[in-house]
């Protein structure tokens, strides 16, 4: 019994290490880790700040930086998970699925591996923030980093659900932006959504990322005078919703993915 638990953990570690090794070797991801923050914080954020950022009652660039942390972790994790579709196309999933390990161990390893890849990308974001002279916020930022595993797990679960439904790479390439971009704008990561009404308000309440962003902001702006202006829900609500989404998505996603692999 003990040895079989060890066996599963060992497999999770090895699968995660595979993704970590890959992302450490990839120059591409290093470049992206600098370009994305530069576009979103540097160009979009700075422009919005100069033109609309006054009188908000908080530092808009810092607000956006927090959003970008969540956004980076969230998106890169999902993108990492979606590599499973590529693995399937390259027949590599066969090698993993024929191994005597739990299907959940496979998926968990994949989520953890993708999470680490997304953490590497944060380095680029922090570098850009320092260059642009955006205050990181000291301990507030450390607290935010401590929350990153939860952010990655939420994203990973959504990623697994997606690969459970999508069989081929082309569909995945079309679907990914459709999942990522609306969430980016509707979740309040980069632009406040407190005053959204109607359909936009409805959408922003049903997407999973909203609660992740909200919890991250609650953690970052804890005891900050601007807390009430920025945070929408109670942190407990955020945690429950995230946990709910996590279990439903990851279990359903694993079952669907494993079945799609076998039912050809």
């Amino acid at each position: 019994m003990k040895s079989s638990v060890f066996h599963e953990i060992n497999a999770v570690v090895a699968i995660a290490a595979r993704d970590i090794t890959r992302s450490l070797k990839s120059i591409q991801s290093l470049v992206i880790s600098l370009i994305f923050p530069l576009i979103f914080v540097g160009l979009m954020g700075e422009t919005m700040n100069q033109n609309m950022g006054q009188g908000l009652g908080f530092n808009f660039l810092q607000y956006m930086l927090v959003g970008m942390v969540v956004n980076t972790l969230y998106q890169v994790t999902i993108a990492g998970i979606s590599n499973l579709v590529e693995d399937r196309q390259n027949d590599f999933t066969q090698e993993i699925f024929v191994a005597p390990i739990s299907r959940y161990a496979i998926i968990l390893g994949k989520i953890i591996g993708s999470s680490f890849s997304s953490l590497f990308q944060l380095v680029g974001l922090v570098a850009i923030a320092l260059i642009l002279n955006i205050p990181l916020g000291g301990w507030d930022f450390v607290r935010l980093l401590l929350l990153s595993p939860a952010i990655c797990l939420s994203a990973g679960a959504l990623g697994i659900l997606l690969v459970g439904f999508v069989q081929d790479q082309r569909t995945a390439q079309i679907l990914m932006p459709l999942v990522i971009f609306p969430q980016m704008f509707l979740s309040g990561a980069l632009i406040p959504v407190n005053h959204s009404t109607g359909i936009l308000n409805f959408l922003s309440h049903i997407i999973p990322m909203t609660y992740v962003v909200d919890l991250a902001k609650a953690v970052f702006y804890w005891r900050d005078p601007a807390y009430d202006k920025i945070v929408m829900h109670s942190p407990m609500l955020d945690v429950w919703v995230m946990a709910g989404f996590f279990f439903v998505f990851s279990i359903l996603g694993t079952v669907l993915f494993a079945r799609a692999e076998r039912n050809r």
């Binding site: 040895s3 060890f6 066996h7 060992n10 497999a11 570690v13 090895a14 699968i15 290490a17 595979r18 090794t21 890959r22 070797k25 990839s26 693995d87 390259n90 027949d91 590599f92 066969q94 090698e95 993993i96 699925f97 024929v98 191994a99 005597p100 390990i101 739990s102 079945r259 692999e261 076998r262 039912n263 050809r264």
Partner: protein, 317 residues
């Protein structure tokens, strides 16, 4: 001998196909046996192997491997098997050794360590030994993107032999390998088979590789045509004959007729079938001095081609 693989009435209908790829196949494989699966392209070999190795769902049928029911205990089945897939199943972004390290960790053979140097000495020795066996020892730490097709194949062979499975499935393992590597792979397989009583389930298009099998199973269009030892198949499929000739052909002909043998006269001499008696028994009875004696023992390849082309209504028979 105990049965290690039992397949009954296996059917596979692919979701996107009109006709079933496997149509009610039954066979069994005994422990320690070298079992060869032969059949033309599209016969259903890979489909069957994928089902046996739990990577593909079947439509119907029952399968037991190493005493475990494939449906109810897939994990136990997986623990007892190893496979080399027909399509390479490697991560090209990683090095050869990293692919092997991932594999052994998935099988729980060694604890995972982030670097080769940190892996147990036992692991490093086994990797080095196997890599040398197939001749990729100098390429272990190179990215697979730079590997040739044959080198990838060799890496997969090394990988599948890292854990010592009870049943090793090999789906065309030698396709793309050079002659030297083929030979050394076969020698190694023979060795581990003798040492560890490993069962080998092979598909191949090289008939000479199947010639050494304990039993051969011929599958065509999703159905089993024949199962048996290579010499049995040959016997059933083509009669063996010898070619003899003499200066005094008339006398030889009379002798052959008197012995009630089936023979045909050609420019080169008499083709005499010897299904029952051995060539020696026949020759011992002949009085006519012979000027020529050639004994033909057909290869499995001839027998196989005869069988497969007969089905297609082609040139055979």
């Amino acid at each position: 001998m105990e049965t290690i693989i039992q397949v009954e009435n296996l059917v596979k209908q692919y979701r996107k196909a009109k006709e079933p790829a496997v149509r009610g196949v039954s066979f069994d494989v005994r422990a320690g046996e070298f079992f060869a699966f032969l059949g033309p392209n599209g016969a259903g070999k890979t489909t069957t192997i994928s089902i046996l190795t739990t990577t593909l769902a079947k439509t119907s049928g029952t399968i037991t491997i190493a005493g475990y029911d494939l449906d109810k205990q897939p994990k136990q089945v997986r623990r007892n098997i190893g496979i080399i897939f027909q399509n390479p199943s490697l991560d090209l972004e990683l090095t050869a050794e990293e692919n092997i390290r991932l594999h052994v960790s998935l099988y729980g053979l060694y604890p995972y360590r982030p670097m080769y140097r940190l892996m147990p000495a036992d692991y490093r020795k086994r990797v080095a030994d196997l890599a040398e066996m197939v001749g990729i020892q100098d390429h272990l730490f190179k990215k697979l993107k730079k590997f040739s097709g044959g080198m990838k194949r060799k890496l997969e062979i090394v990988r599948s032999l890292m854990h010592r499975p009870k049943v090793l499935f090999l789906d065309e393992p030698t396709s793309g390998l050079d002659a030297v590597s083929r030979r050394s792979l076969w020698e190694y397989l023979k060795k581990i088979r003798d040492e560890e009583n490993m069962t080998i389930f092979l598909t191949t298009h090289y008939l000479d590789e199947a010639e050494g099998a304990d039993r051969v199973c011929i599958i065509n269009q999703g159905r089993i045509e024949m199962v048996g030892a290579p010499h049995e198949l040959k016997q059933q499929l083509i009669s063996r004959y010898m070619l003899i000739d003499a200066a005094d052909r008339d006398r030889l002909r009379q002798e052959l007729e008197a012995m009630q043998l089936r023979f045909a006269e050609t420019d080169n001499g008499f083709q005499v079938r010897y299904d029952g008696p051995t060539p020696q028994a026949i020759i011992a009875q002949l009085q006519t001095p012979l000027s020529k004696l050639e004994v033909y023992d057909p290869t499995l390849e001839e027998a196989y081609i005869r069988l497969v082309t007969r089905q297609e209504g082609g040139m055979g028979a």
